[in-house]
Symmetry: C2
Subunit: 761 residues, 2 copies
């Protein structure tokens, strides 16, 4: 691994040492183990002695570089996130509060947060060039948000002293900090994607509204004069605007079939109207929304990834151009320069590792690296390297005779066999069935002890069989802790939780079945991106929760089950007497504090009972706005994302997308898939020893058991997979696009040999 | 148009005449205006005098051919459909009936239907070769279904005579007739697509069930011992199977947030369990179902269409091979043979039309048609041909001076102007707003008369401006009828309906805006395929309705609002006292007859209030089965279909997919888009006169005003668009695949130069 723990040991002249120090200061990836194309380009500039300062958006004085590294330090980043979330969670403590704190405390905290943001921004301004800093809307946004928050806080504080209540309206700008600090790149990308989708969504929405208004007009004509009544005895379909709203709710299916029943009771034929309405609006238009969102999502995702791939290729080609020398008819990078470059950019690699890389890059041992191999260098440097070594069980060292005896070997073979794992999975399954069936019976608690002893036997057998260091992973610790917990505190609660977590082991059975692989891979791949959607949802929920609290605070009260308060059954609101809301015991669904608001908004996202929840709130526009933003846009983007993840995974299963590097490594027989490493059979003969061969360079790497650990297919994100697909398609000669052109690449612009025809997709 | 109305007039020798007669007898497309590749192949066989009998699955004796044409006669087809739907609608008249008929009447009708089906099948057997007939599972299915129905009917009848009630279980086989008669090709294709999707759906479903069972187990552990109660005072989350069912319903979102409220009331933290459940099961798994269904839908749609395109190409190449002669280095079809062929296959085309076709096929006037042009012949023959001619208004003939005067011309120009249409659209819009606002006010009814007179003025102006024959389309008739109706019966009802249909004219405004075109085209394109989904839904509903009636008939009764019957408020079922079902006045949602069952099933498809509707029915498995079949499979296929339609339309908007023919016609300047024909400006100078130039052949066709009418983009179905895309991609030399290979083409088999990379789609 290319971590920077081990200090570099440059045995070259003072110039190289000086260059190296300067390069180390300027490189981007000082805090990550990754080798970025940007760094390779910078290193190439140092190696070739070119004055290369382009594309460095920060100042290059030693002071500025030190500040820049401080800015990027992980502690600083975590601190920023901490204050962003502190600022957001202030809503929990401000009135209306979940955990009330005095106004002074929350305002001091808020000022503190704002000062931290201001400090972070100032820090950023110090490391960035002036014109770059002031051109960036992100920074302006943050400044405006800080100013607004402070002004609002001051006004509110002053008014409060004179006992005048005003609204803390600036609280809705707080999510801006989450969006606009440079670390939230993914969330900004998601917002950009939404912004790009908006025009097309708008056209569909206008058509949909047109259809809704037309149907409402028809409903007014058909039912308005029949004097029908709803189940609650209210007039049915009399007022045009109410019809529009009722039918809008029907699109969400929330009031089906209630909204239809009075007309249905009057005549069965009227159901035809509602059937037509549901087919056109709920099924066709809602699918169209999904189609538009999905189409745009795919288009912009591909565009962003294409940009990244082009950027990378471009930088690698620039680096090549800096280092190239003529060799026969082509330009190449000679071995000496190539080695200098690799040493500079990845000082921790062993020389044998370097030899191996050269062996892959310079396939035919010609003493130089051609352009095609050179552009893959960044990927090559990012592949993990491990060496294999056999490590023996301690018992085999202490009592070799006993441990090596035939019965012991048999026992170990049994434990290592797949059937052993399956047996224990079956035991867990039986345990699950036992518990699900009935838990009052005394036999069950007796059986519980049987199962517990079986689990302890499993742990002992595994300790006996496997080398402890490999087994002492979290799996083992977990097994041990859970068993100890169960033994010591035999309370039902802990037993249950322990047991449920044990049941999760059953996922492994499912996972081992070939047929489920595509689905499981999709599920695993979407986890990282789920965080982006989490952030997106958080932003939308925060804004709507804060507005909701201002609008609906205190309208509904929750009383515990046996409260004697007046109107306890009507949620403290006499107007709710006999309403479906009170009857369904929905009183806790209110906007009385930040946490409750979040839960109500979650319920509104699920859509059901929408109209019941909102029937007691006057502002229907608020709910329609939330539905449009959350359900029509964000949920559809989420669905699009899952669709795309599945399709990428599915197409990958059929046609392996390998880069040239991976293929070459496989050809040389030095590859090992991470998947394979998961099996105990392989693992217990291996050890991940890095830099084991440091200093022994020059020999054939194969003989040393050095292998490349290729990233498992299943832990690649959709983005990484797509980027790989695009890279394979960019022609090598493609130097035409400049950085500016790449950044301004529009989704529709024709790019030579677009990798996937979007025509029928 | 290539209809067969005008008898052919072969001026050739007796042999050709005899061949022609035999060909006419054997050709497939005798009842349609289309020229099928199959017919072209047959005609080529006759022209080349080859003994060509392959690929004719029916007997070729004159008697058999006559029977075959009778079998395919449109009257026979309509009769078959009539009896299929009569048979299906028998459920309306049988107990439990919507319109009760005596048992004797319905059984006589059913026997009649079955006899008709048997007759149709026998007819088919007579025209088909024996081994082909008996190999076809469709025919076996129909025979078994007839046998089962008759047996069941007999048993039921006999038992009824002895007053023993039994179940008419054979009623669920009735939809088999709808699926299996040869005319329902589309529905069978949809069923095939579902069958192909089932394995993958099953894997996702198993994973989903696994997740559901795990969450249920957790719920049992978390909430089972807290002694919580639901809003109705029932125990909450005690029994494992009930939890599984409740959580299954939560996946459909139908019981959200009710199912959460007791836990939420106990502690807000418990909502996290439900949030996790909804994210994983409702959002991720339901999206996965859509992904799997969509992926399979696309795969199989493309495969079927690829098969069709290959078939067509194959037949055209075989026809070419039958007719080819050597010319220089290549094989060609000489002009004489080509003309013979066209005359045979399309005897109604004028000779000028034939010249034009030859001019397109033999681009460089070389006296022969090469392979590339020949394979496009079928498409070429299917392009409509029209001639342009100016036709004058009757008034211009009667009072030319007055009609041609300056004010008259100005008036006509005004009426023809787009602004005139827009003005009237605006008037309708204002009228709509007037009505929506308030209809009790006297001003409104006064305004109604103003609007009515405006509409009459519109009609008069249009009659004055446009040539009557072109204006007397259904639009004019509709305007007239509606106005007359409004004048004569000034009842509010008719006025309303007339008005609503007038409001539909507003769609035209929307349609004329460029931005809405893709969406509108998608909406128009999906209409034909909607019928297939209608058929599919009908089949599923029929089966479930019949089962539902047997299971739940009479459990719930509906009483009119002021009924004095006991338990009228509880839907005639004391068990429903105080239930949400009775409170929501859902009594009419029952399985008491066929029509009600359909409406209940429709409500279950929409999913909402699912649990309320089914809480009174014991058989939960029935509802889960319906949910899986209807919502998870069919609705998802419907959504997939809309997604695909939108994507095809969208990609088409950007990159025009034209066949070589259309391009050539456009090059020759003889094309006219149907779109353009829609504008009145063009229409009133044109007349669709066919065969106008019959017998004048040999002259330059351009001078005659002969133009090709190219099908409008917007009325193409998704299938047609995709087929066109595939055709463009099949290489001309591709003769490798035999008919059998094409028919057995699997969706995953590699086809040379697959037109759309499915890799990232």
């Amino acid at each position: 691994m290319l971590s920077s723990r081990q200090p570099c040991n440059p045995r070259d002249d003072a110039l190289l040492r000086q260059r190296f120090t300067r390069f180390q200061r300027l490189r981007h990836s000082s805090h990550t183990a990754l080798c970025l194309p940007q760094d390779l380009l910078l290193a190439a500039a140092f190696v070739s002695d070119a004055q290369y300062n382009r594309n460095i958006p920060f100042k290059t004085s030693p002071e500025a570089v030190r500040l820049y590294h401080l800015y990027n330090h992980w502690m600083m980043r975590i601190a920023t996130y901490f204050f962003i979330f502190l600022n957001l969670s202030l809503a929990l403590f401000e009135e209306p509060a979940v955990y009330p704190l005095p106004f002074l405390a929350t305002s001091v905290l808020e000022v503190l947060c704002l000062l931290v943001f201001l400090g972070r921004l100032t820090h950023f301004a110090k490391v960035t060039l002036h014109n770059v800093f002031w051109k960036d809307t992100k920074n302006i946004c943050i400044m405006v948000a800080i100013l607004l928050s402070l002004t609002d806080l001051a006004i509110y504080g002053v008014l409060r002293m004179y006992d005048v209540r005003s609204i803390r309206w600036s609280r809705i700008v707080r999510p801006i900090f989450l969006i606009n600090f440079a670390e939230s790149r993914q969330i900004r990308r998601a917002f950009r994607s939404i912004r790009n989708t908006l025009p097309e969504i708008t056209y569909v929405f206008l058509l949909f509204m047109f259809s809704l208004l037309m149907f409402s007009l028809m409903a007014l004509k058909l039912f308005g004069e029949r004097n029908l009544q709803t189940a609650e005895g209210l007039p049915y379909f009399r007022n045009y605007l109410e019809i529009v709203f009722d039918l809008y709710v029907l699109v969400t299916t929330a009031n089906s079939p209630d909204v239809m029943m009075p007309a249905f009771d009057f005549s069965s034929w009227y159901t035809l109207f509602f059937i037509a309405f549901v087919i056109i609006n709920t099924y066709i238009f809602m699918s169209l929304f999904l189609a538009v969102v999905y189409n745009n999502y795919k288009k912009h995702l591909k565009n962003e990834i294409r940009k990244l791939a082009y950027m990378k290729r471009r930088k690698m080609i620039e680096a090549f151009n800096l280092l190239k020398e003529e060799e026969g008819e082509q330009f190449v990078v000679r071995e000496a320069r190539w080695k200098q470059l690799v040493k500079l950019v990845a000082p921790d690699t062993s020389s044998s590792h370097r030899e191996l890389l050269l062996c892959i890059s310079d396939d035919e041992q010609k003493g130089f690296v051609d352009k095609k191999s050179f552009v893959q260098l960044a990927d090559l440097l990012n592949i993990q390297v491990v060496t294999l070594r056999v490590r023996r069980h301690p018992l085999a060292r202490w009592v070799p005779a006993l441990y090596g005896s035939a019965p012991s070997q048999l026992l170990r073979r049994v434990v290592r066999h797949r059937a052993f794992v399956w047996t224990y999975d079956a035991i867990i399954l039986i345990n699950a069935i036992f518990i699900a069936l009935d838990e009052e019976s005394p036999y069950i608690s007796y059986a519980e002890w049987v199962f517990l002893s079986l689990y302890i036997i499993e742990i002992l057998l595994k300790v006996y069989t496997y080398e402890p260091r490999e087994f002492f992973g979290w799996k083992f610790v977990w097994s041990l802790v859970s068993t100890v917990l169960t033994l010591k505190y035999n309370s039902q609660q802990i037993l249950d939780i322990v047991f449920i977590l044990r049941v999760l082991r059953l996922i492994r059975i499912v996972d081992s079945i070939q047929r489920f692989q595509v689905i499981m891979n999709t599920l695993i791949n979407i986890v990282p991106t789920m965080l982006t959607f989490g952030g997106l949802t958080l932003v939308v929920y925060c804004v709507f929760a804060i507005i909701g609290m201002e609008l609906f605070h205190g309208k509904i009260q929750y009383f515990p089950a046996n409260s004697n308060a007046p109107h306890a059954l009507e949620c403290g609101n006499p107007a709710l007497k006999d309403s479906l809301f009170a009857r369904g015991k929905y009183c806790k669904n209110n906007f009385n504090n930040f946490a409750s608001s979040f839960i109500v908004l979650m319920e509104l996202t699920v859509v059901n009972q929408w109209h019941d929840i909102l029937s007691v709130q006057p502002a229907k526009l608020y709910f329609i706005a939330f539905h449009i933003v959350m359900v029509i846009i964000i949920v559809n983007i989420f669905v699009s994302f899952i669709l795309e993840a599945f399709f990428v995974e599915y197409s990958l299963e059929k046609s392996e997308v390998e880069t040239a590097i991976e293929r070459k490594i496989q050809e040389l027989g030095m590859g090992v898939q991470e998947d394979e490493l998961q099996y105990e059979q392989l693992l217990d003969n291996m050890e991940s020893a890095e830099h084991e061969l440091e200093g022994e360079g020059g020999t054939k790497p194969q003989s040393k058991g050095l292998v490349f650990k290729i990233a498992s297919k299943r832990y690649r994100t959709v983005d990484a997979l797509l980027q790989r697909m695009f890279e394979a398609e960019i022609p090598l000669e493609d130097e035409g696009l400049s950085f500016e052109e790449i950044l301004n690449l529009s989704p529709t612009s024709a790019v030579p040999r677009s990798p996937s025809s979007e025509s029928t997709a």
